[in-house]
């Protein structure tokens, strides 16, 4: 229901930040996410970062997918 994409923080300026998403950059609000720094990923929706992306969890999920499909192949 909510078009949102994971974007990388490029430059922080107070409660706003430049973010990058596959070659598209934009200034967005980061007022609603705690402790983000350059290089972090956040979920962007309607001009606002609404969540932080946990990179470790992302990798774990991918590993899990791979594990599942390995199981399959076995």
């Amino acid at each position: 229901m909510c078009v949102a994409v994971p974007v990388e923080i490029v430059k922080i300026d107070g409660t706003e930040a430049w973010v990058n998403f596959g070659g598209v950059q934009k200034m967005v609000s980061i007022a609603l996410v705690e402790d983000v720094k350059v290089g972090d990923y956040v979920l962007l929706h309607a001009g606002c970062a609404v969540s932080r992306l946990d990179r470790k969890e992302a990798e774990k999920t991918l590993e899990l997918f791979k594990a599942y499909t390995m199981m399959q192949k076995e």
Binding site: V3, V5, G22, G23, V24, Q25, K26, H45
Partner: protein, 334 residues
């Protein structure tokens, strides 16, 4: 800064000064020099191709081009899509009073350059100035005239089952480059409009002696609108391979953010070719060899049925209909 005023469109002195000092300066040629209500062209020995388009783009200057270049290439491309050699274009301006004269000069200079590149003469013109608030800066109509080689028969009605569908490069560049600039959006990208001249590539394709069924430039409505049109005209179906369709990373990204689909976004310098299966690889090679075709790709196949439908095989192997676009493209946020 000098501005265009209603006087420049009144048919009096200021009009003549504008025509002499600007339009003739950049467009000058023997035919325009006639200065009469109608321009007289030498006889054209063959069938004639004609196309007309008005250009209403905002902003008028954009990365990769401007309304002037666009207005020349747009019409020249449409002529070329019939297999014609473009010869002449007319240029009619509707200008909002208050438009800076120096911007008009930049546009006219750009048209002149584009006309040279396209090897067409600008043979007739018109200038109307409307009150402030009655236009968005400047609109340009161009109408083109070309000559059609004997036996040339290219058109949207000719696609047959088995034919191959090719595009000359990445899709959605123009529309997304413009959208990124839209007031209130202000996305920073290095996207550029693909605004370009396709008649050269088409000549090379035709000279390769391949059996070309359809040529078209997927402008407004993007690839989806163009293929739906052709599938209806030719009464055929089409199946595209999503994975084969070239789309730039930044175009894809902006579309993800705004909830749009690159296949519905306008292009201004992309060629769609439908060729007989046996010639398709050869055509692809010619396209890839052309400076504007390095990302050319074969993206699908024409099917005898279901008639008038375009399907897309997704990267994960699913299939969906690629509908004719409905309504204006609205970014979805929610």
């Amino acid at each position: 800064m000098e501005l265009i005023t209603l006087a420049h469109g009144s048919g009096g002195k200021s009009s003549h000064q504008l025509i002499e000092g600007l339009f003739y300066k950049y467009f000058r040629n023997d035919i325009l020099e006639q200065r009469n209500d109608a321009s007289v062209l030498p006889e054209i020995l063959g069938r004639i191709a004609v196309s007309t388009d008005s250009f209403v783009i905002h902003p008028v200057f954009f990365p990769g081009g401007d309304i002037g270049k666009l207005s020349v290439y747009g019409t020249v491309n449409d002529l070329a899509m019939s297999g014609a050699k473009p010869l002449y274009i007319t240029a009619a301006f509707i200008i909002e009073e208050g438009f800076p004269l120096k911007d008009l000069e930049k546009i006219v200079a750009s048209m002149s350059e584009a006309a040279k590149a396209a090897e067409v003469k600008i043979i007739a013109g018109d200038t109307k100035v409307v009150e402030a608030g009655s236009a968005d800066q400047i609109y340009i109509n161009t109408t083109g005239i070309g000559i059609l080689p004997k036996d040339m028969n290219i058109g949207g009605q000719n696609a047959k089952g088995g034919d191959k569908i090719l595009v000359s490069g990445t899709l959605g560049d123009h529309g997304t480059a413009i959208m990124a600039l839209r007031k209130g959006f202000e996305f920073v990208t290095d996207l550029e409009s693909d605004c370009g001249l396709l008649s050269g590539m088409i000549q090379e394709i035709l000279q390769a002696g391949a059996d070309i069924k359809v040529l078209r430039d997927p402008t407004r409505g993007g690839l989806a609108a163009t293929l739906n049109e052709i599938s209806q005209q030719s009464k055929v179906g089409m199946l595209l391979e999503e994975g084969a369709i070239p789309v730039k990373q930044a175009v894809r990204s902006l579309c993800e953010i705004l909830g749009l689909d690159p296949l519905y976004i306008a292009n201004e310098g992309k060629l769609l070719v439908i060729a007989a299966e046996e010639d398709a690889e050869r055509v692809l090679a010619v396209m890839k060899n052309h400076p504007l075709g390095k990302d050319a790709a074969m993206i699908g196949t024409v099917m005898d049925s279901p008639k008038g439908q375009v399907y897309l095989k997704t990267e994960i192997g699913g299939t969906r209909i690629l509908h004719m676009p409905a309504g204006e493209l609205l970014p979805r946020i929610c």
